[in-house]
């Protein structure tokens, strides 16, 4: 069958269409509906996991790729809450990535949409450019945005996001660059390579520094290769497969040279992508095996610390903490108990659960820029539930989530300390006062 035949037959071309066996696992029970943020917002079948899978099935059965199909796949946050909820083990994560790559190839976007996407992808995966955006409004205004760009509404959409980043990361005094090696304190228990991430690196250098310190304190030699580049997460989540593969190869090469036992990441969104490199590069004979070996070494910071078990002394921190499950950690990687166990391991910490914890905060990578309206609604919903816990500090493990809920909480007129898990551990290990965490507001 020729390429053309297939294209004429349905929505997809023959290069990895959504896998019909995986689709066949869906028994249409609907258990995923109430945990899907877009279903919760809109109450429509097409904007539920079951509906999106059904649209894929329609595409395989011969329906052409229509604007409406694409619209519903686009509005998926990729939070993978449905993967957790599904009793039948449907791999929605794999299926939506396959679908998104097809959409990028086979769907004609409007020039306006294209411009918006192109601009985002020319900024986000590049730590340096992203850092340059820290004075975003000034920068956008000064770079003499031409009218076409302005008409994408990008400025309006990016502004709140970037403004939140700015407010959230007030201490970015181009933090001291991290050393290439931070030796283990005391007995060496492992050697780990540390990924610095794009948003994390640019906006939360403090989190990376804390990660390195905590790892070293727990007996790890921490290797931090200098120019790492992006892991490709944003590209994968948005169907830009080739771009993602290029990034992935570079990361693999970089860390292969480092010769470490584990590769540690503190950003959930990057972690779930790193753990899927084997599939991303499965068709590349030169990298398929390397990707598998790499993938097996990847650990989220909470996982590795939990695996190693604590050796560094924890000093008490009198804090009430609400822990927010980042979707890419809880749903995509199944890491839920470890961060909680680590927090409970700190004397004085009282942990509070957030209602509707499984529902996404609306951040979801660049979703909040592409789909500002639903992102805002979800952010507000999440903020209300967080505030209701009465906790003093919100802790999570993903920079995007922090950015997202920070602005919603502020908009509702509340103040709450915000920190990454490792910053809390770092404070406890170093014995600093909880006050600093409590007042780290926006």
């Amino acid at each position: 069958m020729t390429d053309m035949d297939i294209r004429q037959m349905g929505a997809f071309d023959e290069h990895h269409p959504p896998d019909s066996d995986l689709l066949g696992d869906c028994v249409h029970c609907g258990f995923c509906l109430p945990t899907c943020p877009t279903y919760v917002l809109w109450g429509e079948e097409m904007d539920s996991p079951r509906g999106r899978l059904y649209l894929m099935k329609e595409g395989l059965e011969g329906e052409p790729m229509s604007d409406s199909m694409v619209q519903h796949w686009d509005s998926c946050l990729g939070c993978m809450s449905c993967v957790t909820a599904c009793p039948s083990g449907v791999r929605y994560d794999t299926l939506i990535e396959q679908t998104r790559a097809q959409v990028e190839r086979n769907h004609r976007r409007t020039p306006k949409e294209k411009a918006l996407r192109a601009l985002i992808f020319s900024i986000f995966p590049h730590p340096k450019r992203l850092r340059a955006m820290r004075g975003p409004l000034k920068l956008l205004q000064r770079t003499g945005l031409d009218r076409r760009l302005r008409s994408t509404g990008l400025l309006d959409r990016m502004a709140p996001h970037l403004a939140a980043m700015e407010r959230l990361a007030p201490t970015i005094t181009d933090a001291d660059p991290l050393p290439e090696l931070m030796p283990a304190v005391g007995e060496r228990r492992a050697s780990v390579g540390m990924l610095t991430g794009c948003v994390q690196g640019a906006f939360f250098p403090g989190v990376n520094a804390a990660t390195a310190r905590v790892l070293a304190a727990e007996g790890c030699d921490v290797v931090i290769p200098p120019s790492q580049g992006c892991c490709g997460a944003l590209s994968v989540h948005n169907g830009r497969e080739e771009e993602a593969q290029t990034y992935a190869r570079r990361i693999i090469d970089t860390f292969e040279d480092a010769g470490v036992d584990h590769i540690v990441i503190n950003a959930a969104g990057c972690g779930s992508t790193l753990k899927d490199y084997a599939r991303l590069l499965a068709d590349d004979p030169a990298y398929a095996a390397k990707a598998e070996a790499f993938e097996a070494k990847v650990r989220d910071i909470a996982e590795i610390l939990d695996e190693l078990g604590p050796v560094a002394e924890r000093h008490p921190l009198d804090l009430t903490i609400a822990y927010h499950d980042a979707c890419h950690l809880a749903h995509a990687q199944g890491v839920r108990s470890q961060p909680r166990a680590l927090l409970r391991g700190i004397p004085g910490v009282e942990l509070r659960e957030i209602a509707e914890g499984e529902i996404c905060c609306g951040s979801a990578g660049i979703y909040n820029i592409l789909n500002p309206e639903p992102a805002r609604e979800l952010g507000e919903r999440k903020a209300r539930n967080i505030v209701a816990t009465g906790a003093e500090v919100l802790v999570t493990a993903n920079p995007g989530c922090l950015l997202q809920v920070a602005s919603s909480i502020a908009a509702q007129g509340h103040r709450l300390g915000m920190a990454h898990l490792v910053e809390v551990l770092d404070a406890s290990i170093s014995g600093s006062s909880p006050e600093e965490l409590r007042t780290r507001t926006i």
Binding site: H28, F31, P34, G43, Y54, P87
Partner: protein
């Protein structure tokens, strides 16, 4: 039936008129006509029946919904209600020329009246959300279908749904006190009331379990039940379903009414294990999930008896949940069992039948025989306390003939239920799937009587037509006499089967 004056009638088809009216009544995103979108609504939880509806509407108020039904009545367009689309009998299977009325945006919990033990909810509210809204006050909503995290109260009312705890607390019908209802003519009426019983005919009782064939429920007043002082959940392993069945009989015979007694056989355990790692006893031929609830002293006494009876009937392992998390995990295995079967078989049919509890061991053996003879695997999950079986018939649709073989086994199981004095459905309803079985259970006169009731509510038969009844006869027709063709039938307007 005449057309209303305010609708342009110049050459527009009834459907076009309805679409125009829907656009006037509903927000833009509440009217769906795009083919790819319509198709996502073509099936419910029984996915092998599929029909693409001509139109889908998602009203946001009861008034909008009533307006749509009124227009359907004027234009003689069939309509089908849909909640969360989890039904297992094809009840919300759309009509190709009709409109699907979806209640997923009617999801406000209007009131929780703690002191009256009542909650007033819209039909699209998810079952478990009623419990979530009332537990802070010390109450919960008792009927708990395994799909409680997703199915809607409207769907529960329509199906008279039940769950594990209905053994002690009763089905949906025992927990619905009043309902706002849109008749097939589009009138908004109120059935039942705040008082525990209303004088006159029990019209609310007729509506509960009517599977959307009498009209659409737009508001439900449900009873809330006090959270029990103590709950004890046990997981008991047996080497065979015979032994587990004997334990069930012994417990009930001892006068104990547990909140729930659920049984799963080896194959169902395997599926649940694969899905949620519930860690059920190794090598069990059957497990019972037994829950006791009530005042602490009573529960403690019953607990001792249940343990003794299980041991006497041959239990090899007995675990009692020590923490809420352990209790949740025990239930998770049971509640995910249907969907989890997807892990051990590409396709399956969920059957639903009832037998007298005493016939349990015999019927289970007969099902095993049937399975062995046909080579079709059957996993059993059921509400053992009230004899409601849920055999899961496994097959692979990619294998030619496998679907038919599974269907045959599935039908055979229903026949077994009927032979033992049971019923063709315990809680999943008749829907599109079992309409053909109704004459096996009821005489023609019985079905005629039901038709009379249906016609009183829906004379034009536009509310979920083609479901429940095998012979959708005309309402003008006198029951019991089928002589010659009806004039409408001759004119091709209606069919008489």
């Amino acid at each position: 039936m005449g057309l209303p004056a305010d609708v342009e009638t110049t050459g527009a088809t009834p459907l076009e008129i309805l679409i125009q009216r829907a656009r006037e009544l509903l927000p833009e995103e509440g009217v769906i006509t795009d083919r790819a979108r319509l198709r996502t609504y073509e099936c419910d939880g029984l996915a092998h029946y599929r029909v693409t509806p001509a139109l889908v509407v998602i009203p946001e108020t009861a008034e909008q919904l009533a307006g749509i039904v009124r227009c359907c009545a004027e234009q003689q367009i069939p309509y089908v209600a849909r909640g969360s689309g989890t039904g297992l009998s094809g009840g919300s299977l759309p009509h190709a020329e009709g409109v699907l009325v979806v209640t997923s945006r009617l999801r406000a919990i209007k009131e929780v009246r703690r002191d009256d033990q009542r909650a007033v909810v819209e039909p699209g509210v998810i079952n478990l959300d009623v419990t979530r809204a009332s537990t802070p006050d010390g109450y919960y909503y008792a009927p708990d279908p395994s799909s409680q995290q997703v199915c809607s109260i409207g769907g529960n009312v329509a199906e008279n749904s039940g769950g594990a705890h209905c053994l002690k607390y009763g089905f949906t019908t025992n927990h619905v006190l009043a309902a706002e209802f849109v008749t097939a003519e589009g009138e908004q009426v109120r059935l039942g009331g705040d008082a525990p019983d209303s004088p006159g005919y029990d019209l609310l009782g007729a509506v509960v379990g009517s599977e959307g064939t009498l009209g659409i429920v737009t508001e439900v007043t449900v009873r809330l039940v006090r959270l029990p002082e103590k709950v004890v959940t046990l997981l008991v392993g047996f080497d065979s379903t015979d032994r587990a069945g004997a334990a069930v009989s012994a417990i009930i015979a001892a006068g104990i009414v547990p909140a729930a007694i659920e049984m799963m056989d080896a194959l169902a355990i395997e599926a649940a294990e694969a899905a949620v790692a519930c860690n059920y006893p190794d090598g069990a031929g059957a497990v019972l999930v037994i829950e006791l609830d009530g005042p602490a002293t009573e529960v403690d006494a019953e607990y001792a008896d249940v343990v003794r009876l299980c041991e006497e009937t041959g239990a090899f392992e007995l675990r009692t949940a020590q923490t809420p998390e352990e209790r949740v995990l025990i239930w998770k295995g049971r509640k995910s069992a249907f969907a989890a079967v997807g892990r051990i078989s590409p396709d399956y049919i969920v059957q639903d039948g009832v037998i007298p509890r005493t016939a349990l061991p015999e019927v289970l053996r007969a099902i095993a025989d049937l399975s062995e003879r046909s080579g079709v695997r059957v996993a059993n999950v059921f509400h053992a306390g009230d004899g409601n079986l849920h055999p899961l018939v496994l097959f692979d649709d990619a294998v030619p003939g496998a679907g038919e073989a599974a269907e045959a086994v599935s039908r055979g199981i229903l026949d077994l239920c009927l032979q033992h004095g049971g019923s063709i459905t315990g809680e999943h309803g008749v829907g599109a799937d079992k309409a053909a079985h109704m004459p096996k259970m009821y005489a023609a006169e019985d079905l005629d009587t039901m038709q009379l009731i249906r016609c009183a509510f829906d004379p034009d038969r536009i509310s979920n037509p083609g479901k429940v009844f095998p012979t959708p006869r005309l309402c003008g027709e006198r029951p019991g006499r089928r002589q010659g063709a009806h004039p409408l039938q001759e004119a091709g307007v209606a069919e008489v089967f």
